[in-house]
């Protein structure tokens, strides 16, 4: 019986994940309405539940893909994987008002640049404070603070040790999770209300996963504007970290 269920679950992975996610969204809607009186958005709660399940999944299997490593929920990997995530993000572009996006293009680009250099500097400083003194390790950990993809890409390019690369991924994943969870709470403080503000946010907060989930939990209408800028984040990071930023660090230490 168990193997039969398992077979059905894996053969229909994506379909099963539609049902599971639907259930999670339904529950979060109720939690939002009845437990928080609507103060915390349903999607924010759903993302928190998702992260909690990811932790449980990681604990159960020791794998790297959270709940998706549990056989029954392997379809989650497809539904929440890069392909469908990016597809859905592109689809939201249909809601973009070109004039708004054009008006904020310049400030978005500036935010993107600050959003690359500032996390890097902080990452390097923290690594320094924890006793790292070689340019390669410092740069890799700094790159991890940009996004969890820039960290390993940079580390591999400049020859960092596996431990340092792991640390850089951990820093990046932490950052993404914080952005997901903290954005709705800090939305007022960040004045996250207009398309322009969302583009600034997308550039500075970085990580497509953090920005897309953070904005989804704050105001769905702002998603395309933030994502438009944030999708350049990893590329810019991978461009600057192993080159210019690495040379600067090497010159300094």
């Amino acid at each position: 019986m168990d193997t039969l269920l398992q077979k059905i679950a894996t053969d229909n992975g994506l379909i099963l994940s539609f049902a599971v996610i639907g259930l999670v969204v339904l529950c979060s809607g109720y939690i939002s309405r009845w437990l928080t009186m609507g103060r915390i958005q349903g999607s924010a709660i759903a993302i928190l539940i998702g992260l909690a399940l990811a932790y449980v999944g990681g604990r159960m299997t020791g794998g790297s893909k959270g709940l998706a490593d549990v056989t029954y929920f392997s379809g989650i990997a497809l539904m929440g994987g890069n392909m469908l995530r990016d597809f859905a993000i592109v689809a939201t572009a249909f809601e973009v008002h070109p004039a708004e996006a054009k008006r904020a293009g310049g400030i978005g680009a500036i935010a993107l640049l600050i959003g690359t250099v500032l996390p890097f500097v902080i990452g390097v400083s923290v690594a320094w404070a924890f006793g790292y003194r070689d340019a390669v390790s410092l740069t890799t950990i700094g790159a991890g603070a940009i996004t969890y993809i820039v960290g390993p890409v940079t580390g591999t390019a400049i020859g960092a040790t596996p431990e340092v690369i792991t640390l850089s991924i951990a820093a990046g994943v932490f950052k993404a999770i914080f952005v997901m969870v903290m954005t709705p709470m800090l939305a007022n403080f960040m004045r996250l209300k207009t398309p322009r503000s969302a583009m600034v946010f997308g550039g500075l907060a970085g990580t497509v996963s953090g920005v897309s989930a953070g904005l989804a939990a704050t105001d769905r209408k702002l998603v395309p504007y933030g994502a438009l800028v944030a999708t350049f984040h990893t590329g810019i990071g991978c461009l600057l970290a192993p080159s210019v930023l690495y040379f600067v660090v090497r010159a300094l230490v």
Binding site: F18, V25, S43, A46, I47, G50, L51, A54, Y55, S64, K65, G66, L67, I76, R85, D86, F87, A88, I89, V90, A91, T92, P98, A101, I107, G115, L118, I122, V126, F130, A145, A157, T166, L167, I169, A170, A171, V173, K175, I177, F178, V179, M182, F189, M190, R191, T194, R196, S197, L204, A205, S212, A213, A216, R220, P224, T231, T234, G235, I236
Partner: protein, 130 residues
């Protein structure tokens, strides 16, 4: 036909990824540079063109809107497969780097966005001088 919209979306997606990949190559980076962003710009342009020239039917738009509506569920599925365990195993250094980064960026965002309110009031046509 609904599929026309989804096909348009898919075409923009793939073309954007290809261009992002080429841009990455041109810049000598091992990753895609802004492929998704480029795809979004293509879709925005296609929609604008389709509306002004009238070849984009409302029914076709459904093929895109459905996927846009699935965005939040997809993001929840993404959250479910984050490597939370690894983040936690990274220990205090990874945590501190992330906390400080998010704090600094939040401040930066706040500073930049607080300026907008003044700026947009000046620019908006019906703003009255106070």
């Amino acid at each position: 036909m609904t599929i026309y919209g989804t096909a348009l979306l898919a075409a923009c997606h793939i073309l954007g990824i290809v261009l992002g990949e080429l841009l990455g190559r041109a810049l000598g980076v091992k990753t895609n540079v802004g492929g998704v962003g480029i795809a979004m710009l293509l879709l925005i342009a296609a929609r604008y063109h389709g509306h002004t020239r009238g070849w984009l039917a409302a029914k076709s738009e459904d093929g895109v809107n459905y996927w846009a509506a699935l965005y939040i569920p997809v993001v929840i599925a993404m959250a479910m497969q984050q490597n939370v365990l690894k983040a936690i195993s990274g220990g205090p250094m990874a945590l501190l780097a992330a906390v400080l980064t998010v704090a600094a960026c939040t401040l930066c965002i706040s500073v930049i966005n607080r300026r907008e309110v003044i700026g947009s009031h000046d620019e908006s046509p019906n703003a009255t001088r106070s």
